[in-house]
């Protein structure tokens, strides 16, 4: 009898200290410990429990942890440099608004305490590099090209040894070589992996901002009768005015302009493609029909039902990604994670049960994945962890 009662007390105390006790046991414990004799018993029990539960970390774990810590020190030095540069481009805040039923929640993330940064250093970022395929079929990484090496006959990069760090490839000052004939255009193509973005200035001065996970094929120098490029993915075009029409060809549409700024999203694998117009006017040819789009309008084409529609949007906000801020609106949780995965170049696995019906609105700074994920976690009421370099999203409990 005595033994049995002792045993159940030890089991209760063990549960309390190991955190396994449920709320009724917590209540039982609160009652039990009011007795001063029991309180002393607990103090003794606690000493023994802590003494005998002191599990050493193990050398392997300590070494791994030390390595991550040292990485953190190194990357924090790099980050400090990087952050200063990033601030130049965009405010380092991520905002996300969710609409869930009747209430709306707004949370502005401020990057305050940095001490959880560490986990993020364990994320495995996409390691694919930006690739430019030259007309002779060779493939180069434009970020690695030293301007002095004229390895590229196609490419006459930014003059005077300007560093390619600017993530820009410039064909504007390209001088046509004598061997070029006007009817055989030489093409280059650039592929942007997830987590990267890039700018190409075409030979006519048109500036193309390429989104993560996109592909653009374009002539090294445009001919005199047309300006044609091919896109898979998303790009923002700032087209130089000219009498020669500028045409973007995608999987299922052609977008034709004379001189204007617009955004085309047309990924082969996606359900939807869209065109957003900032100013001027564009003509979209799709399924044999032409459609004129006005500024602040978005034309979307649903590939499943093969139907297009035009809606009014805030075009400036929707195209902020070109300046390093990804704006998402009315998007489902899964779609949002997919966008973020592409934007930051990391694998995100969703194991949470966030309803597909919930819609998310948010803005994400390119440089701060941590702020982004924390904001998402807080608003969607999920937790995250990093496992083998991937970000795993799970339910709170």
């Amino acid at each position: 009898m005595y033994k049995e009662s002792k045993k159940s007390i030890d089991s209760l105390l063990s549960g309390i200290l190991s955190g396994k006790a449920g709320s009724s046991e917590v209540e039982q414990f609160a009652e039990w410990i009011k007795d001063s004799q029991n309180e002393r018993y607990f103090e003794d029990y606690k000493q023994i429990w802590h003494t005998l539960n002191s599990a050493p970390a193990g050398e392997q774990m300590r070494d791994r942890s030390l390595e991550s810590f040292l990485n953190y020190i190194d990357s924090s030095r790099r980050r400090q440099r990087f952050r200063r540069r990033a601030l130049y481009w965009a405010s380092s805040a991520a905002t996300l608004i969710i609409m869930a039923g009747l209430y709306m929640l707004l949370w502005v993330y401020e990057s305050g305490g940095d001490h959880n940064k560490l986990a993020f250093s364990k994320l495995r970022y996409n390691t694919d590099t930006i690739k430019v395929e030259l007309s002779d079929g060779s493939v180069v990484n434009p970020l690695r090209v030293k301007t002095s090496t004229s390895l590229l006959s196609d490419l006459i990069p930014n003059e005077k040894g300007k560093e390619q760090e600017s993530r820009e490839l410039n064909y504007l000052n390209r001088i046509k070589s004598k061997t070029d004939s006007s009817d055989t255009l030489k093409y280059n193509a650039v592929t942007i992996p997830p987590g990267e973005r890039f700018v190409v200035v075409l030979s006519d001065g048109t500036k193309v901002y390429l989104h993560s996970g996109s592909y653009l094929r374009y002539p090294v120098s445009f001919g005199s009768t047309s300006r044609d490029v091919t896109l898979d993915g998303r790009a923002y075009f700032d087209v130089s005015k000219s009498k020669v029409p500028f045409i973007v060809t995608t999987e299922d549409m052609k977008v034709e302009v004379l001189g204007t700024s617009f955004d085309v999203e047309a990924k082969k694998s996606a359900l939807k493609s869209s065109v957003i117009l900032i100013n001027g006017s564009v003509k979209v040819h799709i399924q044999g029909i032409s459609r004129i789009i006005n500024p602040d309008e978005m034309f979307s084409f649903n590939r499943e039902i093969r139907q297009g529609s035009v809606t009014t949007v805030d075009s400036k906000a929707m195209t902020q990604w070109k300046d390093g801020i990804l704006a998402l609106r009315e998007i489902s949780f899964n779609d949002m994670l997919e966008c973020l995965s592409n934007w930051y170049g990391v694998d995100i696995v969703n194991r949470s049960s966030v309803s597909e019906g919930e819609r998310f609105y948010g803005k994400f700074d390119r440089e701060n994945i941590e702020a982004a994920i924390k904001t998402v976690a807080l608003n969607a009421k999920v937790r995250y962890r990093i496992e083998k370099g991937r970000l795993i999203i799970v339910d709170y409990k």
Partner: protein, 194 residues
């Protein structure tokens, strides 16, 4: 003790604190190596989760790195580290909502005053003779006797659960337990525990 030679690079604790303030790489490696194991063990007994404990200690060091320039540690570095791990553990516990079962009954005070191991108590226990004596006494028990004692007393298993887990009879468990308790009672008289 074997760490003394490494420590000699910093003639005294003030020199070490200064080195940390200035961001000296080897000073951080030194404090990491000399305290990691104990801090991890401490965090693990608060958080009861290995991942959380590892992350807690690591992020504590990272935080100290982040704020190194502003650090002004009046107490010993060791006690500062334990307090930091303690604070960090509490925020992890809150994040995990592990305190809900206390808070919903208005018992958060009980948790903080009685249940959680405070940094002071942890340091006192680590340095105490009691701790050594407990370990020595437990180690002096025959192996099976020790295993049964730990399973029941510390792990909170009932005699029959312990019997099943070790594939022995409940009678054996009872016998071994009474042997363990008898021996420990002799050695650890001052604990009313047994």
């Amino acid at each position: 003790m074997g760490k003394e030679s490494v420590h000699s690079a910093y003639s005294n604790s003030d020199a070490l604190k200064e080195a940390i303030k200035s961001g000296a790489h080897d000073a951080f490696v030194y404090i990491f190596n000399s305290h990691y194991d104990n801090l991890y063990s401490y965090a693990l007994r608060i958080l009861n989760n290995e991942n959380d404990a590892g992350e807690c200690v690591q992020s504590t060091f990272c935080h100290i790195w982040d704020i190194r320039e502003k650090l002004d540690i009046k107490e010993s570095l060791r006690s500062y580290l334990y307090k930091s791990v303690y604070n960090n553990s509490i925020s992890i516990i809150r994040k995990n909502r592990a305190l809900d079962k206390y808070e919903e009954k208005g018992l958060a005070d009980l948790y903080f005053s009685r249940v959680i191991q405070s940094p002071d108590a942890e340091i006192r226990l680590t340095d105490s003779e009691t701790r050594k004596e407990i370990i020595e006494s437990i180690n002096s028990l025959p192996e099976r006797c020790r295993e049964i004692f730990i399973k029941c007393k510390i792990g909170g298993l009932s005699y029959s659960e312990a019997a099943i887990s070790m594939d022995i009879s409940v009678n054996t468990v009872e016998n071994q337990m009474s042997i363990a308790l008898k021996k420990l009672r002799e050695k650890l008289k001052y604990l009313i525990f047994f």
